[in-house]
């Protein structure tokens, strides 16, 4: 059995467990709210977590390259990156997948397949973690860039409009 097939066979369980792992990082009431309804517009956070996790799991089940999950993972991390978590907590749900899947493998699969499956799992999770790290950093960098731009454009424009930068402009 390949890891893809295992994901395909158990995708429902894996999706719910994995989503749960994200939700658990929130205070209870907020978390319950995120997991409560499926409404895309009144609960965008919960909706994104649920549907994107599902898409990632299905992508793995199809055996597609991890890079294909970029957008789905990005949408989740984009939310996590502004919710005041430390980077470890924000990204923690990805390595959590290792535990969820490996336990389930051990329960459901014959012992002789464990080594191969767990080996593949390690690779998968590592890839996801690294991809997630890139995406998370992109989000944070964008936020910092916006902050820097805000300061720059404020002072620069004021100076420019107050005609204090004429010398500089003439030099250009």
């Amino acid at each position: 059995m390949k890891l893809e097939n295992f994901f395909a066979d158990h995708h429902k369980y894996l999706c719910s467990q994995w989503t749960e792992a994200i939700i658990k990082t929130y205070p209870e009431e907020g978390g319950k709210f995120f997991s409560s309804t499926s409404s895309q517009f009144s609960n965008p956070v919960g909706h994104t977590f649920r549907s994107n996790i599902e898409r990632i799991v299905l992508a793995v089940a199809k055996g597609t390259d991890v890079a294909a999950c970029t957008q789905d993972l990005d949408e989740i991390l984009r939310i996590r990156a502004v919710q005041g978590f430390s980077p470890a907590v924000a990204l923690g749900f990805i390595p959590a997948l290792r535990n969820i899947v490996s336990q389930h493998i051990i329960e459901k699969c014959p012992a002789e397949t464990h080594v191969a499956l767990l080996g593949d799992l390690n690779i998968l999770v590592d890839q996801l973690v690294l991809l997630g790290f890139d995406l998370y950093m992109q989000c944070r960098e964008l936020l910092w860039r916006q902050k820097a731009n805000q300061l720059y454009s404020r002072t620069h424009k004021l100076l420019e409009r107050a005609n204090l930068l004429q010398g500089e402009e003439a030099a250009e």
């Binding site: 792992a21 978390g31 009144s42 965008p44 502004v82 005041g84 290792r98």
Partner: protein, 542 residues
């Protein structure tokens, strides 16, 4: 090896999973990224507001005056007497929870104290515990608690996480308006000098120079002159706006954000083009003012009195210049203040006798709806011009725009300006798609930075709060190819570009009159090659 299989255990130690305690027992934790810096005491002093002092929200000691509790109690007592809204909203909430999931900050953050009902309970619990007999006797049992410095910090943290957008009040069966409670909460905090700098300093600036950014008259003139240069480059026509002109028919006031920050500047260019067109075609006499050069009113986020002080300039300037009525630019809370407060606050004291019920001099339309305040929204003005066929508009100039419309909170829920901009849009843009119902019109979502919360340091809060709006934009972007988000609010134009860049990078932000400025065709004007942003126009066949 087995350790590696247990990442959950690894992360358990940093899991943010609070104990199941009552909210009153959860101490406030002031998180960076969610609060704005404390006000500069110089600004607070300049305005003569109480207890200016230097303090830091992250430190234990906030430098409160000795008798701070007494100050707060007297403040509450006074406000209960002065504001029926406050008194009723303290008494009648049944905690039905209809508002709980309506706040954009709660939807984005999941922080339970961002549920409107709980935000209000922060104050209500103290009201019950300190002001009602029942609450004094039964305490926690009656939902009451004592005012401690912890509670005060919680107030500060959460009352400055509310953008006073009023979305919750639409759904409340008793119309309880969290904005009203936030306003009272901020007024009380203000009595102790606990303001935020992003509000206090613009207010001080506005008081002194006439606008939030502290632009002095010559610089204000220069900035508009800059726009005129740009407009000349693009259209071949140079607007000649009037400043502080005595005897002008109409005084025009817009938020200074439009004069200063992109993409509001393009909207400002739109105003200039429109006024120039109307001047040349119909002899419209409009003047800008450097003294009243701010439409927005951050005083509203400080106290009712500060709001009055800043707002008074509009009527004072109309009187000095002899303007018959005032035209207001695109702004959010500015219009809440004008529509619901201005005439009451300053009408009796400062509205000059010579002011008249606004009449559009070009169409002859009487703006009866502004008969008393004598101030008209520019969307109303432009819609009237278009209806009467007074503008020559070419939609093709906006052919690269696929627009969706963000109803800005305060014009929507504190005024009801919904269809005027849509009417204008219909005549200046071809491709227009609405976002899903429940996210527009009176149920519109806040941009995430209203009520003076668009500072740089609380970016996380703004991003979380901006998610519900961005999410709806994302939907119409992905499904219909929308690439532009229009709005009538200067704060929107400051906050949404960052929010869009983060959540839906393919969508840009613009104001209504930027689109008007693009579409408006002067008689005999040169063929435009770019739009107001300097971007190439699509071919005529579009």
């Amino acid at each position: 090896m087995s350790d590696l299989l247990r990442p959950e255990a690894l992360f358990a130690s940093i899991d943010y999973n609070p104990p199941k305690t009552d909210w009153m027992d959860v101490p406030v934790e002031i998180k960076p990224g969610r609060y704005c810096y404390a006000a500069n005491p110089d600004s607070v002093n300049y305005l003569g507001l109480p207890h200016a002092h230097k303090w830091n929200p992250l430190e234990d000691d906030w430098g409160l005056p000795e008798n701070w509790q007494e100050i707060i109690f007297n403040g509450i007592r006074e406000r209960l007497h002065k504001y029926r809204s406050f008194k009723i909203f303290m008494d009648i909430c049944v905690r039905c929870g209809a508002c709980a999931d309506k706040c954009h900050y709660f939807i984005g953050s999941g922080d339970p104290k961002n549920m409107p009902v709980l935000r209000a309970e922060l104050l209500r619990s103290v009201y019950r515990g300190e002001f009602t007999t029942f609450g004094k006797i039964f305490g926690r049992f009656a939902g009451g608690r004592k005012l401690t410095s912890e509670v005060l910090k919680e107030w500060w943290y959460y009352f400055f996480q509310c953008s006073e957008c009023r979305r919750c009040s639409v759904f409340c069966p008793y119309g309880i308006d969290t904005a009203e409670i936030t306003i009272m909460g901020r007024e009380l905090l203000n009595l102790l000098g606990l303001n935020i700098d992003w509000i206090a300093t613009p207010v001080a600036n506005c008081y002194r120079t006439g606008n939030h950014l502290g632009i002095q008259p010559h610089a204000f003139f220069d900035m508009l002159d800059f726009f005129c240069d740009d407009i000349e480059d693009i259209t071949g026509i140079r607007p000649e706006p009037s400043f502080n002109k005595k005897g002008a028919d109409i005084l025009f006031i817009t938020p200074s954000g439009d004069v200063f920050a992109d993409p509001g500047t393009y909207t400002c260019m739109g105003y200039l083009i429109l006024f120039e067109y109307l001047k040349r075609e119909y002899g419209l006499d409009v003047t800008w003012s450097t003294y009243a050069s701010e439409g927005g009113n951050f005083g509203f986020f400080t106290s009712h009195e500060t709001m009055k002080r800043l707002n008074s300039k509009m009527y004072m300037e109309a009187e000095r210049l002899g303007a018959k009525w005032i035209l207001g630019g695109e702004c959010g809370h500015m219009w809440r203040v004008i529509h619901q407060y201005m005439d009451t606050l300053n009408g009796p004291d400062f509205q000059a006798a010579h002011m008249e019920t606004p009449v559009n001099p070009i169409t002859g339309t009487v703006f009866k709806n502004a008969a008393s305040t004598k101030m008209v929204h520019i969307a109303e003005f432009t819609a009237d011009l278009i209806k009467n066929g007074k503008l020559n508009l070419n939609k093709k100039r906006n052919a690269n725009v696929h627009l969706t419309w963000h109803d800005s909170c305060n014009p929507a829920r504190g005024m009801g300006l919904l269809d005027e901009p849509r009417y204008v849009i219909k005549h200046v843009v071809d491709k227009f798609t609405e976002m899903p119902q429940g996210t527009i019109r009176e149920q519109t979502f806040c941009c995430g930075g209203g009520a003076g919360l668009n500072a740089g340091e609380n970016d996380e809060l703004r991003m979380m709060g901006g998610l519900p709006r961005a999410n709806a934009v994302k939907y119409v972007h992905e499904k219909y190819g929308v690439n532009m988000l229009g709005c009538v609010c200067a704060i929107d134009r400051a906050v949404l570009p960052n929010s869009m860049e983060y959540w839906v990078p393919e969508v840009d932000v613009c104001g209504l009159h930027e689109l008007v400025g693009n579409a408006l065709v002067f008689p005999g004007e040169q063929e435009r090659e770019t739009d107001l942003r300097g971007e190439d126009l699509p071919g005529e066949d579009g």
